[in-house]
């Protein structure tokens, strides 16, 4: 089968190659998915560039990407919750990475039926960004009437997070640039802050939850806007001590400034690792079918133009997700 593979770390055009490889074999708890569409995410780019070599070392060559939607064509003998012919979507686990291929084997724990009211391309755009947003906001304990600040509302994670927070009945502040204000507002955000002309710290104050999708100084600044006893969840900022321990970094301490800022507000700082979860995707399926959440797609590329798709992703200018139609 045809697959887009990473042959070495480095610049996108030098590292990605289309190879003919053998079809994956399934284990008892796996389904084999005939890939209809795959989506690419910033993490895919970081892996190719080699930025995550120490945390997520990969064998060379490895097939790229995690997000998939397609049709179940084979199932392992322990699988009883999926059938041949089911239309599904998933964020595949690390050890099964490689959705930019004609087929991918996935453990059923990570798989859900896809929403029936959207296309394969739209479904493929949801898992990684959707799970990241949902798991972060749920970890923060989001509830009705919470004031939530979501950074980068026009990104894949941000655009999903706004809709998820609204579905939960929260009041949503979000930041974006001038050209995105209108469509981000249309996602349901209550107050869209144009960071080019406004200071978000003066507008979003005493919020219950800050969802940090930007990192750098934004992680620290979050404690200027979060309320006493609030929570900051981050997917890009420094690790917190619990998550560092998971990585075997026993002596890790939260950066001093961050520790000081959070204790001054008596607020919690949590780093969130998205994890694949089919049941969470079931929840997302229901939200999408009830039109609480709409997939936001920037561009759909044909499989043969996957490398161009990565170049587009790397430009950082996508509004919503970049999807690849595989078959």
């Amino acid at each position: 089968m045809k697959a887009l593979q990473i042959e070495k770390y480095g610049a996108i055009e030098d590292s990605l190659v289309f190879n003919e490889i053998s079809k994956p074999t399934i284990k008892p708890n796996d389904v084999l998915i005939e890939v209809k569409a795959a989506a690419i995410n910033p993490i895919d780019k970081s892996i190719i560039l080699g930025n995550l070599q120490s945390m997520l070392p990969i064998a060379m060559p490895s097939t790229s990407a995690y997000d998939v939607s397609g049709v179940v064509v084979e199932k392992g003998n322990a699988v009883n919750n999926f059938d041949i012919g089911d239309l599904v979507y998933a964020r595949v686990p690390q050890e099964q990475m490689g959705t930019l291929a004609e087929y991918v084997a996935v453990t059923t724990d990570a798989v859900s039926k896809k929403p029936g009211n959207i296309s394969f391309e739209e479904a493929a755009s949801l898992p990684l960004a959707g799970l990241t947003a949902m798991q972060s906001l749920e970890r923060a304990g989001i509830k009705e009437n919470d004031k939530v600040l979501i950074h980068a509302g026009s990104g894949g994670v941000g655009s999903f997070a706004i809709q998820y927070a609204k579905a939960k009945g929260a009041y949503v502040y979000t930041t974006t640039s001038t050209s995105n204000v209108a469509w981000v507002k249309a996602l349901g955000a209550d107050r869209v802050i144009d960071y080019k002309t406004e200071d978000y710290k003066k507008i979003a104050q005493d919020v219950d939850i800050v969802f940090d999708t930007l990192g750098q100084n934004y992680s620290l600044e979050a404690f200027e806007v979060v309320k006493q006893g609030g929570i900051v969840v981050s997917v890009v900022g420094p690790l917190d001590e619990d998550s560092a321990q998971m990585f075997g970094m026993a002596d890790y301490k939260l950066p001093t400034e961050l520790a000081k800022a959070s204790s001054a507000k008596n607020a919690v700082y949590k780093f969130i690792f998205m994890y694949p979860n089919g049941q969470h995707l079931e929840t997302i399926k229901t939200l999408v079918e009830d039109e609480k959440i709409k997939p936001i797609i920037d561009t759909v590329y044909p499989f043969s133009k996957s490398i161009e798709a990565f170049v587009h992703l790397a430009s950082g200018r996508a509004k919503g997700k970049i999807v690849i139609k595989v078959s």
Binding site: G85, G116, N117, F120, D290, E291
Partner: protein, 191 residues
């Protein structure tokens, strides 16, 4: 099954042998919400009579989106008749929208009833005509009526359906977007 047979008896005389034959080729079943009875792309051998609950038949287009052909509530038949008649693989999926009770018939065996018991011909013709009428109405409505008019007719035809179905099922039956359906409902509530 008794209910179905007494319905048939209102139209034709049913001999004891015919009744026994019907029992021999059928099975009463309780099915759970979400259960798939016929799956697009697979062989179709069965046809279903609904005694309680709600089922739906739909096709999935090449982009993976669902389009609803039919809902089946109490006293309706549902299957993939294209597949049965043409001896093809299913173009439709039939799923249970609620926990339901159905009578499952072997479609090929059921067809033989007309040979064994010719009186069933007239009963079947009546059913088919009713089915053709409803299909013709559905096509004409689709061609000439506005979306709000189609929605009104739909509610007349399936008065309690909204408690069983999701919005996207209804929108995909009417051939409109979910947004349009929400708009139509809002307009209707203002009247």
């Amino acid at each position: 099954m008794k209910e179905l047979i007494s319905k048939i008896k209102k139209r034709i005389h049913v001999q004891a042998e015919a009744e026994a034959f019907l029992y021999s080729i059928s099975k009463e079943k309780k099915v759970t919400k979400g259960e798939i009875l016929i799956r697009q792309g697979q062989v179709v051998k069965k046809t279903f009579f609904v005694t309680a609950g709600c089922l739906r038949s739909y096709c999935i287009d090449k982009n993976g989106k669902e389009h609803t052909l039919q809902f089946a509530i109490k006293d309706w038949w549902i299957s993939d008749y294209i597949a049965i008649h043409n001896n093809e693989l299913a173009t439709l999926t039939v799923e249970c929208l609620t926990p339901s009770t159905i009578i499952e018939f072997n479609a090929r065996e059921l067809d033989k009833i007309h040979t064994y018991f010719p009186e069933f011909e007239s009963y079947q013709r009546h059913n088919l005509e009713r089915h053709v009428v409803s299909l013709h109405k559905r096509i004409l409505n689709q061609l000439q009526l506005s979306a709000p008019e189609r929605y009104d007719l739909f509610l007349q035809q399936y008065p309690d359906i909204e408690q069983y179905t999701r919005n996207y099922h209804i929108a995909s039956y009417l051939g409109i977007t979910q947004e349009s359906l929400s708009r139509i409902r809002v307009e209707k509530s203002k009247k």
